[in-house]
């Protein structure tokens, strides 16, 4: 079985790739938010992740995972605002709180941290499955991740599965009538549109999968 160590550099690369993706798709995310929200999700995510990369790029790199993710979370909380700021912010803050002062993750500890992040999102936003929020991409992604790991899969398999599940969850938000966030004001009119936050969450797992699949995982006896 692979040891699948995920170094801080690799985790930083994940964040960097997520920053790239939300910046590239900024207009698309705002487009989605125009249909059922207030046309700022793209700007919010791009502003937030740009601030994050500036923050963790500056000064001495974080010595441990808890430090890294707490500063990511705090930066999002203080630079984004809106609904996505506290939610993504809390996601990374909780990841950091759970991670402990470790120099790296393995498949299991990454899963534990991600799960804590999801719980933070739920604690903050009270979203349930089918409310048409980022939860609907995030929860299935983590279930798929855990299943892959406990099935003996590599972190690459797990991340790929999470990404696939996140995209499926994102697509499944289209027919839903929103029950949380701005989109809920539209009632029936919110159906027929992808949820912007679920879409940015799919990008988060796309970034994870792409970054980890770049890892070479030595196999040993």
């Amino acid at each position: 079985m692979s040891d699948g160590t995920i170094s801080l550099e690799r985790l930083t690369a994940w964040l960097g790739r997520f920053a790239e993706l939300v910046t590239d798709q900024r207009a698309y995310l705002t487009e989605l938010d125009s249909a059922i929200g207030d046309a700022d999700h793209g700007a919010n995510m791009a502003r937030g992740m740009t601030a994050v990369m500036e923050k963790i790029g500056a000064g001495t790199p974080a010595g441990a995972a808890d430090e890294l993710f707490k500063s990511v979370g705090m930066t999002l909380v203080t630079s984004v605002g809106g609904a996505s700021g506290p939610l993504y912010g809390t996601f990374f803050l909780r990841m950091g709180m759970t991670a402990g002062a470790v120099p790296s993750f393995d498949g299991g500890s990454l899963g534990t941290a991600l799960r804590a992040g999801l719980e933070g999102v739920v604690a903050r936003g009270k979203a349930e499955a089918g409310d048409k929020t980022m939860f609907d991409a995030m929860a299935p992604a983590l279930d798929a991740y855990d299943a892959a790991i406990s099935g003996g899969g590599t972190v690459q398999d797990a991340a790929a599965a999470a990404f696939a599940a996140a995209e499926a969850g994102r697509d499944a938000t289209a027919p839903l009538v929103a029950r949380k966030g701005r989109a809920s004001y539209l009632g029936e009119r919110s159906a027929g549109h992808l949820d912007p936050g679920a879409t940015s969450t799919a990008l988060l797992f796309q970034a994870l999968s792409e970054t980890l699949s770049g890892t070479t995982t030595p196999t040993g006896g």
Binding site: T30, D38, D40, A83, G85, P86, G125, R179
Partner: protein, 331 residues
């Protein structure tokens, strides 16, 4: 997109430069995007802060001053400000008697203000209370939604509760009054056009020349339904009826006919004439009124109606002196 701006991603920061230049009676903390009184209120009085995304001007910065807010936090256009800004504003505003956070009911605003209150509790010993406004009858208040939006009543609440704070009422009394005002108010809005978020660069929604949106909020989101454009008298019906259907509005009230930013004053007065007629017919005795742009949605053409049932206490507080760039009298 046609706007009097520079970089579309820098509109708030650039506008705050103008606010600072125009208002020596205000201080602008550019780093934290906070507007506060240059001369704070007396020690021992409760402070009021509010905040929200930009694009609703004069709300909230235009209501900072004697008799209304002590500080306002500004987020990016249509984006709630962040907890650290709110915490900073709370510290700046506090005069030792605690701070009331006035929050419009939007998921983002509520979550960020929650985090700010948590920060205040953990990092300082400033007493913080919160009132969340939710007066928009266009939204069903049910577990199926994020609840009603906070709109027009926020303006009237900031004025009335601000007067109570100047009187020296304590935090509990000020908070209770704020909740009473919110519960006594209802609003309904409509749009003839979309607005254009600078960073988005195009109208948030497409709408035909012969259509209008009924039940819009203040963030350019589409309303509850789209109908053929109608004369002012009919539009007034579509705004007033849902309000009167939602609560018993009979008796004295403060009524605001609010412009959403792109409709000229002559149209707002014309609408007020139609709305006042219908409200009086519905048993509302209009004791005070406001007609103008008070809580806007960038350049959206349209208007909203707010009806606040007002007993003698509220009217007395309404009439009390206020000295802000957005509302000023008795001073």
């Amino acid at each position: 997109m046609k706007k009097l701006i520079n970089d579309p991603n820098n509109v708030l920061a650039d506008a705050l430069v103008g606010v600072a230049a125009a208002h020596p009676e205000l201080k602008v903390d550019a780093a934290n995007r906070i507007i506060y009184r240059a001369t704070p209120k007396d020690k021992g009085k409760v402070a009021l802060i509010s905040g929200g995304g930009a694009g609703h001007e004069p709300l909230h910065g235009g209501f900072v001053g004697f008799g209304m807010l002590d500080a306002a936090c500004n987020g990016e256009v249509f984006t709630s400000p962040t907890p650290d800004q709110m915490q900073e504003a709370t510290k700046v505003a506090d005069r030792g008697a605690g701070v009331l956070h006035i929050v419009k009911n939007y998921t983002g605003d509520v979550m960020n203000f929650e985090m700010a209150a948590e920060l205040a509790a953990s990092e300082s010993d400033i007493k913080v209370e919160t009132v969340v406004t939710n007066d928009d009858v266009a939204v069903q208040d049910s577990t199926w939604t994020a609840g009603r939006r906070g709109v027009g009543v926020t303006v009237l609440l900031e004025k009335i509760v601000g007067a109570a704070a100047e009187e020296g009422r304590d935090l509990a009394a000020v908070t209770a009054l704020a909740k009473k005002v919110n519960e006594a108010g209802r609003s309904m809005g409509m749009a003839l056009t979309s607005c254009t978020v600078p960073a988005a660069g195009k109208p948030t929604f497409e709408i035909g020349d012969d259509e209008m949106e009924i039940g819009v909020g203040i963030h350019g989101e589409p309303g509850r339904h789209r109908v053929p454009i109608a004369p002012a008298s009919e539009i007034a019906k579509q705004l007033v009826e849902p309000i009167l259907a939602d609560f018993d509005a009979k008796g004295p009230a403060i009524v605001m006919l609010n412009g959403l930013g792109g409709s000229p004053l002559i149209e707002l007065y014309l609408m007020y004439g139609e709305v006042a007629k219908l409200l009086e017919k519905g048993g509302v005795k209009i004791a005070r009124n406001l007609v103008g742009n008070y809580i806007t949605s960038l350049d959206m053409a349209g208007c909203s109606v707010t009806v606040l049932k007002a007993d003698d206490e509220l009217l007395k507080l309404w009439d009390a002196p206020v000295n802000t760039s957005g509302l000023r009298w008795g001073i």
